[in-house]
Symmetry: C2
Subunit: 238 residues, 2 copies
């Protein structure tokens, strides 16, 4: 397959690699390519844009790092499905280098999760409501302090985000997951008494209950309480 040459020149503020990256992104838009669709080869882009193959290879590599295209050795690249990994890696870096704080991440998570649960209460399918209820019930049966409990906790928040039908918010929330995997066990660790463990379970059951009831305001309030008392308390205590 041959393509029309693109006569546009790199802008003054971009390198040749950035120029190729932008042209590949624009090609995807222009051709209406969707996830899984094949892109022209390195050689085709090099010809179309009158640049060398190493420049295209570098641009492909960068687009791969940004999770926009998927590159398998020797095959033509394909359009990638987004996931939270790019934001996750970028956020991890910002935290490690003190550009953003853990407190800021929690504020952001709270903001987004109180909204996604309200949307989930309105938009969830019956299957989703049942699944969320099931996870909350499984949490009640799980051994206090077990890794199973942590896994279920994370799965509950994820199922709620998915049921919101807002992929962008779900992706952003999902990108916090690697951080959660290290901080959720610590949060549950601070729950030393039976009474406090029971309260945590009631809070999680309340999230599921308000979604099942299609009660957006109640769901939002339940998530806000959850952050306030269980999560917030721990952050303050640090």
């Amino acid at each position: 397959m041959t393509y029309e040459p693109i006569t546009e020149e790199p802008r003054e503020d971009e390198t040749r690699v950035q120029f190729v990256m932008r042209q590949v992104a624009e090609h995807i838009g222009r051709q209406g390519l969707k996830v899984g669709d094949q892109l022209p080869s390195e050689t085709s882009f090099a010809e179309m844009l009158s640049v060398s193959r190493p420049v295209v290879r570098e641009a492909f590599g960068a687009l791969g790092a940004l999770n926009m295209i998927e590159i398998a050795n020797g095959r033509r690249p394909r359009v990638s499905a987004i996931d939270g990994s790019v934001l996750s890696v970028s956020m991890g870096h910002a935290i490690r280098t003190d550009q953003i704080s853990i407190q800021e991440v929690w504020e952001t998570r709270r903001c987004l999760e109180t909204e996604t649960i309200a949307l989930a209460a309105v938009r969830r399918s019956d299957e989703e409501a049942a699944r969320i209820t099931e996870i909350a019930a499984a949490m009640a049966s799980a051994e206090p302090g077990s890794s199973e409990l942590m896994t279920l906790d994370i799965a509950l928040h994820k199922a709620i985000a998915t049921a919101s039908r807002n992929t962008l918010m779900a992706q952003i929330i999902g990108s916090f997951a690697p951080m959660l995997e290290s901080s959720v066990p610590a949060a549950w660790d601070t729950i030393t008494t039976k009474e406090r463990h029971a309260v945590m379970l009631v809070r999680h059951a309340a999230l599921a209950d308000r979604i099942r009831a299609r009660d957006a305001d109640g769901a939002r309030q339940a998530m806000d309480d959850h952050f306030d008392r269980s999560v917030g308390a721990r952050l303050t205590a640090r």
Copy 2:
């Protein structure tokens, strides 16, 4: 400068390039490097990790694309300051390939901006409050439909996000800017009557006013109204 060799092996789920990317990120964390600090050279990492230089070069390129390091030809890379560009590029791609909708972006923006304005009302410095008030006042003097008005509109939202002191939320909001630059003029374009223009100005003045008054709830409500009526109305009308 020489570094200790790292004996860790790539994980089964990562390529050699991904392994080097992770090791560079961990090196930054371990050494407590901050924005602007220099990283070891390509050769040093190749020796430390027992990989070839082209592998390190590719990993550096990918980390550059993710805006984690800055690479200048022939010089050692430095730790980069994050900005919203990575999320912005990734979001643009997701929109172009129908993975997320404009409606989802607006929902996310509304969620974050109603929160950042509440935080701004509490945390803003007097200078920030004065600056925000000044922008709102300049909007009132700007020619209806002028590009100056659009620029001020975007600047107002940006100043509010900055005053929230939550860099992560400000970055995410900032990453919507390229999309705003194309959609804000269209939003103002739909304001055809003098009366409606005046109402828009009053709404923006209310945002500034509630921040100046340190009224978090009022500020949140004013932003919610702003999204509801001006922005929401337009989206519905499409």
